[in-house]
Amino acid sequence: MMVNEFYEAYRNRHKLAEGWKREGKKVFGYFCNYTPEELIYAAGIIPVRIRGSSENIELADAHLPTFCCSYMRSALDQALKGQYNYLDGAVFPKSCDMTRALYSIWKRDVKLPYYYFLPVPGKSTDAAVDYFIEELHLFKEALEKYTNKKISEQSLKQAIKLYNENRALAHELYNLGLRDNPPLSGSEAFAVLRAGLIMPKEEHNAMLRKLLAALSSVKGSPDGKVRLMIAGNTFETIELLQAVEESGGDVVVDDIDIGSRYYSAMVDENAEPLRALAERYLRKVLCPCKHPAEPRLYHMLELAKEYRVKGVILLTQKYCDTHLYDRPWLESSLKANGVPVLVVEHSDTGWAGGKFKTMAQAFIEMLE
């Protein structure tokens, strides 16, 4: 099945990147969905999202306390084990306290040739946009200095266009979830989108086009699955979505940082590129590390309605401060609006699949 290609790409992400390196290409790792990848791409560098895994932590504990999120611990562990040795550089945008701290920890302990820390404002006011444009100018200059080549307006516009195409294709994929019987399950759709984090956009676009064309005539069969939304932050364990499906549910839409919060919101192709980028990144659906928080709740309520979900799985990484502060409020607000919520605290390493499945089953039974 075609979805397998997306699974495979993600599973082999380090090998893929090593292949590009052999072809003489440059590869930068980046954290978080506040890195304007378009600039890196326009500089002729392939941006890949730095991910963790569910493997046991072996080396990172000597550099990072165990009461930090498993995502950052695991990503650092992979890097210390040499799995990210192919990177020519890494970009850390200002989001949470962890990304801030991990910048200095990586820079000191993981020997990559290039590091950049990108300050990103915490607000989305006009003044914040103006300020961010200045930071983007500096980032652009730094990239030009690194590659010893100017980033032309044309190449930046091309990069923006390519990324917008990717977002538009992702949007089409999300639209499949609107159907009564989506042709892809939640875990399959997630696998398709997740692959986009680690491959060049033109390749992801080509694969997406092929998949969407193949799916256009496929009618999903009625399976009586309970429609759900997953919201919260990042996770590696796709088994989580599979467990939902085995329990009689299906995640048809998400509000997570590697899902719709990453793929939504276009960059204005008619505006001055850096301004357009600044506005897109500061005015998309905000992650909890940015302010204000309310628009995200309204967005979740809209998604719940639009996708006709019967409940929300609110997933938070253990030790993820910014999400944990919003959690009680999101839970009570969703419930007050008639949306049932299952609160899950998650850790990729040492994931308790059985425990999650029991919780998911009980939740889905309640909704049926």
Binding site: H63, K94, A101, S104, F117, P288, Y325
Partner: protein, 418 residues
């Protein structure tokens, strides 16, 4: 193997600072004024650390620091119950215990003095000047109190020594905007001259604090770490008032006199240590455990975090510079550099890291800071876990055993037996 000290350990009774009486008076006065603020028509502003408190005094307001208050609850042994009350409302035990404890105070209406807690805020003022969790916590407070929330966005600085102009300008403009929002919320006129005066007083406090801090380099060191932590209250809460300046003058003079007379707070000072970073408010006596074994803390960067020089001729610009160049926002090597300078100047034998379980912000880089000090200066480090406010899960026996073996190791290094 014989490394243990042969002498029996005598319980430590530190000499009381004369200034601590004045501190008690200031404390009382502050909480009285806070309780009467609403009657007196003074705005109550709940504020995070590393937020320009000077703005609050410029409006003749009363700043309230939930962090400071949670510390007080912890030392009065009610923090655990209050944290549990916060958890009962869905807040994770992993969150900052200052926040959890504050949630307990406001949800249970239970204060540190057997009262109903502090008066509700008229304004909530926060920045990310310290950590990214402050604005999140303040958003939660705003949902509870439904009063105006002002967030001053603090652009990140990697190297706090070189602050880019555009970051400073963005911050300074927001401080001005915050002043305008506060004027609107309090229906008071903003007075730049008043701000200048407050900034001048605030600078005076930092100048005095830096002097006191420098005296700690003396051998023997004149003031205990407990006194340093305790004496921080005016620095945190009253900075920008004449009371604070007067208090630190008195403290400076007292510390200076001790130095002149070569009076140390530990009778037999054998080791000189750095404390990193947060106090353990529910167990401040742990610091005496070091003192009883001849180990004195001679510097910490926690206190210094609250000190920052300002320039009354450029209030907004200097506030921006001061609050954005806060060293803890910088990278590990910048923090390590500060410790390296101090290690030489203060004749340091080792560093103790309080790995504060509820604070990612202050702990994530501690292992690297320790590694840098060990690799570059040969300074050994001790790290143990605790929670600054919440006593749950703290293992006193294990921590003390770690301290014992650390001090034995220092003993063997510094005073090898021939």
């Amino acid at each position: 193997m014989e490394t243990k000290q042969d002498k029996p350990i005598t319980p430590f009774k530190p000499a009381r600072l004369a200034a601590s009486a004045a501190l008690g008076t200031l404390n009382e006065k502050y909480y009285r004024e806070l309780a009467n603020a609403k009657q007196e028509g003074r705005p109550v502003v709940w504020i995070t650390s590393m937020t320009p408190i000077e703005l609050v005094y410029a409006f003749d307001g009363i700043p309230f620091f939930p962090e400071n208050y949670a510390a007080l609850c912890s030392s009065r042994k009610i923090a655990e119950e209050l944290c549990r009350a916060g958890e009962a409302r869905g807040y994770s035990q992993d969150l900052c215990a200052y926040a959890l404890c504050t949630f307990g105070v406001i949800f249970e209406k239970r204060g540190a003095f057997g009262d109903e807690g502090p008066p509700a805020p008229d304004i909530l003022l926060a920045t990310e000047g310290a950590c990214a969790t402050h604005p999140k916590w303040w958003e939660a407070l705003q949902r509870h109190f439904k009063c105006p929330l002002i967030i001053i966005d603090a652009a990140y600085t990697v190297d706090s020594a070189t602050l880019p102009e555009h970051q400073k300008a963005y911050y300074a403009a927001q401080v001005k905007e915050a002043a305008m929002s506060m004027a609107e919320a309090t229906k008071k006129k903003f007075d730049t001259d008043k701000l200048r005066e407050v900034v001048r007083l605030s600078d005076g406090v930092s100048e005095l604090w830096d002097e006191i801090d420098a005296f700690r380099a003396a051998i023997p060191t004149p003031i205990s770490q407990i006194d340093v932590f305790t004496c921080l209250f005016p620095m945190v809460t009253l900075k920008g008032t004449k009371d604070a300046v007067d208090f630190y003058k008195q403290l400076r003079d007292e510390v200076k006199e001790r130095v002149n007379n070569k009076v140390g707070f530990v009778p037999n000072e054998r080791f000189r240590l750095i404390w990193d970073l947060f106090p353990i408010y529910h167990n401040m006596r742990l610091l005496n455990y070091f003192a009883e074994r001849g180990a004195a803390f001679v510097t910490d960067l926690y206190g210094n975090a609250f000190s920052g020089r300002l320039d009354a001729s450029d209030p907004f610009g200097s506030l921006a510079k001061r609050y954005l160049s806060f060293f803890m926002r910088g990278a590990s090597w910048g923090k390590a550099e500060l410790y390296k300078q101090r290690a030489r100047k203060y004749h340091v034998d080792g560093i103790v890291f309080h790995s504060n379980r509820c604070c990612r912000f202050s702990t994530a880089e501690q292992p690297d800071v320790g590694n840098i000090l060990r690799d570059e200066l040969g300074i050994p480090g001790l790290m143990f876990e605790a929670n600054m406010v919440d006593p749950r899960g703290y293992d006193d026996t294990q921590v003390k055993a770690k301290i014992e073996s650390f001090l034995e190791m220092l003993e063997a290094r510094k005073y090898p037996k021939k």
